[in-house]
Symmetry: D2
Subunit: 408 residues, 4 copies
C-alpha cells in the first residue's frame, strides 16, 4: 500500500496551521511556563519545530539568513551533532523571545519553506516528510504538556469548555490468535520513522487479546482491592517509585477518587471511559492483578491488522470510544483513543540502522529504559499514526495519553 506524498505546500501549510490552532486556548503566560523537566513550554514547542525546518531544510539554502543566530542554542532539543543548547530543565527561563516574536519566526520560516516545497529534491522531500511528522509529534506534546501545566495549578482551569461525552459500555470479549511466523515493522513504502523498520519476521505463540481497553471502573476495582498497597502486583522498581511518590491512583485522578482532570477540566469519573494517563508500571500491575498481561508489540501489530480487516478500518484501535476534545476537532480522524502500553522494551529491530547525520539522533539513542506504546490517542493529530508506529515512554511516566489493553 502506497501512502500519498506529504511534501506538498498545502499539507505543510495545513499542518503548520494546526499547530497554532492548538495553542489558541492558552495565554502568552501559559505558553512560557514549564511544569516539569519532562515537559516543555508551548512557546518552546512552537519555536523548536520551526528551528527544525530552518536547520534541516533552510540553513544551507543559498542566500538564506537565519532568523536569529541565538535560536540554534535556544531551540535545539537534543541534537548533539548540531551543538550546545539550553538545558532541558531550564526551558521555562526563556521568557525571551516573546510569543509574538516566535510567531514571526514561524511566518518567516514558512515563507522560505515555500521555495523548498515548490520543487523539492528527493532528499529534501524526505526531510519535509520527517519534519511534518516531527511537528505532529510536537502537536501532541503541546496538548500533553498543557494538560500537565494546567493540572499543577491549585485551582486548575480547562483547556476546552466543550462538554465531556459519556462512554457507552464496551464489549470485553477476548479475541484469539494462533501462533505463527509473522512479518512486523514497516516495509519502507511511504513515510515511517527509522525505528519502525526494517520489516522482519518474528515467531509468536498462541495468544488472546482484549477487544477493548481497561475502563476507569475496572481500574477503580483494582484500587479498591488494595492495588496500590500490595507489592505482589508491582515490579520492584515500580513499588519503589509509587512508595517514594506516595502514589495512590493515576496521575490525573482526584484525591476524592471520583473525579478526573483532563482537557475539559475536572469532571466526574465515568466508569465506562478507558482509564488513561496510566504509567507502564500501573498498566503492568493492573494486568498482574487481573491475572493477565500486556501484549508484546508484535502481538499488538498482528491483532490490530487482523481485527481492522474484519471490522473495518481502525475498528480495533478506535473501538474504545474515547473522543477527542472539541477544540481539537481537526483531529477527529484519530486511529485510536489512547496509546496502548505493550510489554516490549523499546529496542532496535534486527538490522536497524539510524539515519545518517544529525537526524540519526531522532530515535535510536533513546532505546533504553522505555517501553513501546502502540496505536495513537485522542491527542494524536489525524493521519499521523499508523499500524507500525512505535511510540515510547519511560515506565514511570503518565502524562502521555496512555491506556491498558490486556492479553493472555
Amino acid at each position: 500500500m502506497s501512502m500519498p506524498a506529504m511534501h506538498d505546500s498545502a499539507t505543510f501549510a495545513d499542518m503548520r496551521s494546526i499547530t497554532l490552532q492548538l495553542t489558541a486556548p492558552l495565554s502568552a503566560e501559559d505558553q512560557v511556563a514549564q511544569s516539569m523537566p519532562d515537559a516543555s513550554p508551548t512557546k518552546w514547542h512552537l519555536a523548536h519545530t520551526t528551528w527544525f525546518w530552518e536547520t534541516f531544510l533552510l540553513a544551507d539554502l543559498p542566500g538564506y539568513e537565519v532568523f536569529d543566530p541565538t535560536f540554534g542554542f535556544l531551540f535545539n532539543s537534543y541534537y548533539n551533532a548540531i551543538g550546545e543548547r539550553q538545558p532541558r530543565a531550564e526551558r521555562g527561563l526563556l521568557t525571551r523571545p516573546s510569543l509574538l516574536q516566535v510567531h514571526d519566526y514561524r511566518a518567516h520560516v514558512d515563507k522560505h519553506m515555500e521555495r523548498v516545497l515548490a520543487a523539492p529534491t528527493p532528499q529534501q522531500a524526505t526531510l519535509v516528510d520527517l519534519g511534518i511528522n516531527h511537528e505532529q509529534q510536537h502537536q501532541e506534546l503541546i496538548l500533553m504538556d498543557a494538560l500537565h501545566l494546567l493540572s499543577r495549578h491549585p485551582f486548575p482551569g480547562a483547556y476546552t469548555d466543550a462538554p465531556v461525552e459519556s462512554s457507552p459500555a464496551v464489549d470485553a470479549a477476548w479475541h484469539g490468535f494462533e501462533g505463527s511466523i509473522v512479518d512486523v515493522g514497516h516495509d519502507g513504502d511511504g513515510f515511517a520513522f527509522d525505528n519502525e523498520g526494517p520489516r522482519h519476521q518474528q515467531l509468536i505463540g498462541d495468544f488472546e487479546i482484549a477487544g477493548s481497553l481497561v475502563t476507569c471502573g475496572q481500574f477503580a476495582e483494582f484500587i479498591a482491592d488494595g492495588g496500590y498497597e500490595r507489592p505482589e502486583f508491582w515490579l520492584s522498581d515500580a513499588w519503589a517509585a509509587i512508595s517514594r511518590d506516595q502514589r495512590q491512583r493515576p496521575l490525573y485522578w482526584g484525591d476524592d477518587g471520583e473525579s478526573i482532570f483532563g482537557l475539559h477540566g475536572r469532571h466526574p469519573m465515568d466508569p465506562n471511559q478507558p482509564v488513561s494517563h496510566v504509567s507502564f508500571f500501573e498498566a503492568d500491575a493492573f494486568a498482574r492483578w487481573a491475572d493477565a498481561r500486556l501484549p508484546t508489540e508484535a502481538e499488538w501489530e498482528v491483532a490490530a491488522l487482523r481485527l481492522d480487516a474484519i471490522n473495518g478500518p481502525a475498528h480495533f484501535r478506535s473501538g474504545s470510544t474515547y473522543h477527542p476534545v472539541g477544540s481539537t476537532a481537526d483531529t477527529t480522524g484519530l486511529m485510536g483513543s489512547l496509546w496502548e502500553w505493550t510489554s516490549s522494551p523499546y529496542v532496535a529491530y534486527p538490522g536497524f540502522r539510524p539515519a545518517t547525520g544529525a537526524v540519526g539522533e531522532y530515535n535510536g539513542k533513546f532505546m533504553n529504559n522505555q517501553y513501546v506504546l502502540r496505536g495513537g490517542s485522542y491527542m494524536t493529530p489525524a493521519g499521523h499514526t499508523r499500524l507500525t508506529y512505535r511510540n515510547f515512554f519511560p515506565p514511570h511516566t503518565g502524562w502521555q495519553a496512555s491506556g491498558i489493553r490486556l492479553a493472555r
Copy 2:
C-alpha cells in the same frame, strides 16, 4: 525627629503607581517566570502586595467582598496564621490569573482602599504604614528578581537601555571612632519595622571604618591573588559552598572576568565602581584577605550618624557613587548605593517582641542564619530606608544589591 505620616491617599497612590512603573520594561512572559526558589515572578509580587492590603485592611471591612477567594491561597507568602498557600518554589506555575487580571485586582483594591485612607483609625493607620513599607520592599524585590531572571537567560537582555555612568575614583580614608556606650535602634517616633527596636544601649570599643565601599578593582585584586582558591580566607561553610558551586567570582561577573551583568545589561567592569551583588561569604573572605573585618551593625549605625552630621545628609551612605538606573528615576533619593554587609548575625534586640497577630510573622521568625545589611541600595525606593533599618539575607546569597565596607 518626627517623620511625616505616610497613610494619606496621595502617598499611597504614588507608591502603588511606582510598583507598576517598575514592571513596565517587562513583558507578560517575563513577569510570570520564576528563576529560582528564592525569587518570585513579578506578577506574583504585584498580586501579593495587593493581597496584603486586602487581607490586613479590607477583608474585615463591612460590605467588602474579596476579589477572588482563591487569591488567599495563591498570594499569601509565608503567613501561617492566615492559612495554607502555594509552595514558594512553585510560584512560576501560576500562569493564571493573567497579568491583566492582576492589574484589575490592583485597581479593585486601590479603589476600596480609598475608603480606609479617607479616615483611618489608629490601628488602620499603623497597618497602612506597614503596607506601604511592605510594598516598597517588594519594589526592590521586583528589581532583584528581574535582574536574576534576565541573568539566567543564555543571551540576556537589559532591564533598561540607559547608559552606564562611570564612577570617579573614591577616597579610601579610614574614619576613627572612640569606644563608648551608644544608643542603637529605633526610638519609635515615626514608622519603623518591629525588628529595629527597642532602642537600647550597647558598649562598643574603638574602631575605624572605611570612607568608601570596596571597588570592583580591589575585588579583582583579591581574585587575582587566588582569593577563590585559598581556603584560609573563607569560613568553613563558605568554602564548602563555593567549592560545591564552583564559584570563582561574584554572581553577576562574566566568565571573562572583565564584564558585569546588571540592569543595564552586560557592560565592561569599571574598576572604580563598588563591587556589588556579593554574598556575605565573599564579603567576609575579602575582608580577611585585606587584613580587615566587616563592621558590626552598632558600629555602622554610629558611624553613619556621625559622618552624615559632618558631611551633610546621607554623605556616608551615598558617598560610594553608585547611581540608580535610568528607568527607575523616581528612586533618585536613595540613601545609599548598595546594602552593606555587617558582621552581625540577625538576632532580636534585647526586649524585642514581635507585633501581635499575623503581622508578627513579618520579621521575627527569620532570625536564624542571616546577616544584617545596613544602608540601602540603588534598587531601594526613595524614602524607604533609614539609619536604623535592618535588612537581612542568608550568607550565601548575592542576588540582592549588596556591597562591602571594611572596618578594623
Copy 3:
C-alpha cells in the same frame, strides 16, 4: 541431559564451607562496611544466606526455634511477603550481631539442616537446590562487594596476594551462524532458576559473533579515539550518566589510564586481558564505535552451544583466558571468565510464571531496566552457571565482573 541432585549433605556442606573461605582475607571490620547502596557488607551476606535456609527450610519444622527473632528483620533482603526489613542502604549500620555471632548462626542452621538433608521431601529438595544456588550467587556478590569496598579506600589493599598472570594474545575471528528457528531457555531437567524457562522457540537471523572478548588494549583505543567525549557513540541515558559522573574510563581503571584495580590490588593494565567491570552503557558505546553490536541472548545461547560442541566443553565461554584469583582456587571450574553483556533487556520468556509463595519474588519482579548477561565470570562459583543462565544488572553498573563480546 540430567543434572545430578544437589540436595545431599556433602554438596550442602561444601558449598557452605566455600562461603566462609571467601571471607577469610577480610577482617571483621572489612566485613561490616557497606561501600554503596547496591553493595552489602560481607557479614550481611553471611547472615542473609543463612536466614534464607532458616526461613524457607527450617522455620516451619516441628520443634525448631529461630536462632534470634530479630534476624528476620535484619537479614531479609527484599521479600515483601516475609515482612518488614532493614533498609538496603543502611545495612552498614548493623554492627551487631558481631561477625562471631553470625558464624554461630551459620553453625546453628547448618546443624539443623542436617535433619532436612537426611530425607528431604520433594518440596524440600527443590528448596535446597534453590538455596544452594542462592548462596552461590551471594558467593559471587561477596567478591564483587569486597572488591568495591577495597577500591573505595584511598590506599587500597588487595584481596589476594597471588600474582597476576599475563594473558596470551587471542584469536579475534568472527564465527558465522545462519538464521533459523531455535530453542532457547531451560528445559526443566535439573535445577534452573524460574527465569530461565519455559524453553521456547525463537526466530533468529544470520549473524556473526566474535571468538573472544574485547581486550583492554582495544578498549584503550576506544578511549584514545575520544570514546568518552563523543556523544554519537552513547545512548542518551548513557551520555547523561557519564556526564553527571564525569566518567572517563571503566570503573576500576586508574586515573593514570595504565593500571587496573582488581582482587590482586592495583596492577599494570595488560592489553591482552579482556576488559572487565564495564557497564552495559560502556559495552554498547564500544560496540557502536567498533561498527558492531552486542549479541542478543538468543544468539549468544545458540553460539555458545555450537562452539562448545566443536571445540570442547566451555571453550567458547572460557576461551577468553581470564583466570580466577588464587584464593578462590575452588572455583577453577568456571565456565567463563567474564559475564557477557547482551543487547537483550531482561524480560520474561513467553509463558513465564514466577514460583508461588515468597520465592516468587526471587527473579520476576526485577524485570525492568536491566540487561541480560550470559556465561559466568572468574568470580562465579564452580558449577553454578549454565548455558541458559540469565544474569541481569542495570545498564549503568560496572561492579559485576562483566565484559564485552561483539556480534554483527
Copy 4:
C-alpha cells in the same frame, strides 16, 4: 586564678588512657561504622587524636619517622593548611588500618611523646595543652557518636548496663540580676581555646535566669499542647526542618512518647530528668511556648559565676542533677549535666585573632550558622570545661548532650 599546667607526663598518660577506656564497650565492628556524615567512627577518633599529636608535636622532631605516611590523608579532619584528606562523609569506608593497628599507632606516638613531655619548650607546652583539650573534645564525641550509632540500629543495644538513676524534683526558682557592664571571656591565665578571648566588656540589662534545666515532664507538656504542630512557636528555618524530617519529638525519644534512648539503652522517661539532646530549634520553640527566652552567653556567664559563688562550686551548672553514666565514672567531676543552649550566634569576640599556623583553623572558621552552648555535659571529661568555655553546634542538631535553661 591560675590553672595548674597540664603538660606533664602523668596528665597526658591519664588522658590518653581515658580515651581508650571509653571505647571498651564497643566491638571492633562498632568502632568502624559511621552513622551519619556529622558523626565519625570511634576508630577514626582514636587515630585522628593520635595524628594530631604526631603532626603538631612529633613530625618535626629530629629523627622522628611518621608511623605511616598514609595516615596524614586518612586522619586529618579539616586542616586545609596540612593537606588533602579523606572526605568526612566517607570515614566509614576506612576499614583499614584495623583497630589493632590504630592501637599500635597510639602506643607508638605515646612513646615518642615522652621525649617531648620530659622537657617541653614553651611552644611545645602550649601545643600539648591544646592537644590534651583537643583529645578531651574527641572523648565527648566518641560518646556522642557511639550513642548515635547505637540508636540507628533497629534493635539498639546499650553502651552501659549500669542502671539509670532517678532524678529528684528540682527547684524551678528564677534568679534575678541587675544590668551592668560586665567582663566576659577568658583572661588568658591558664589554658583556654582561642575563641574564649579576648576578655572584654559587655553591657547587659536586667534579667532573670532559671535555677534548673527544663525537665522531660515540662517538655512533654509542650508536645501535648501541640508544640510540634504549631508554627507560631518556631523559627521559619526550624519549621521547615521539622516539617521536612517529620520530627515530632526530641531525637532520642521513643515513638511511644514514653521512653528515651541513651547510653543505658532504652528506658522509661523520667519526668524530673532534664530534657536532653534537643536542638537549638527545639530549645528556642520551647522557650517561646513558655513565654520566656534562652539566655545570651554573657548572661549565662555572669549568672554561672555569681550562683556558684553563693552556692558552692559548680552548683549552678550541676544543679540539674543529671548523672554521668556508670562506665564513665572517671568523669564524675563534670561541671554540668547538659550543655545549655544560649541565644547567641557563635561569632568572634571583639579583637579575636585565630592562632597562627594550621591550629588557627581550630575554631575561627566555624563561626557561621552555629549557636553557643555553655557549661558542660555528662559526656564531658572531668576538668575539661570552664566558665568561659564556648561550645557550638548548628541549630538543627541534637546528637550532642544539650538541654534548655530559660531566661526572661
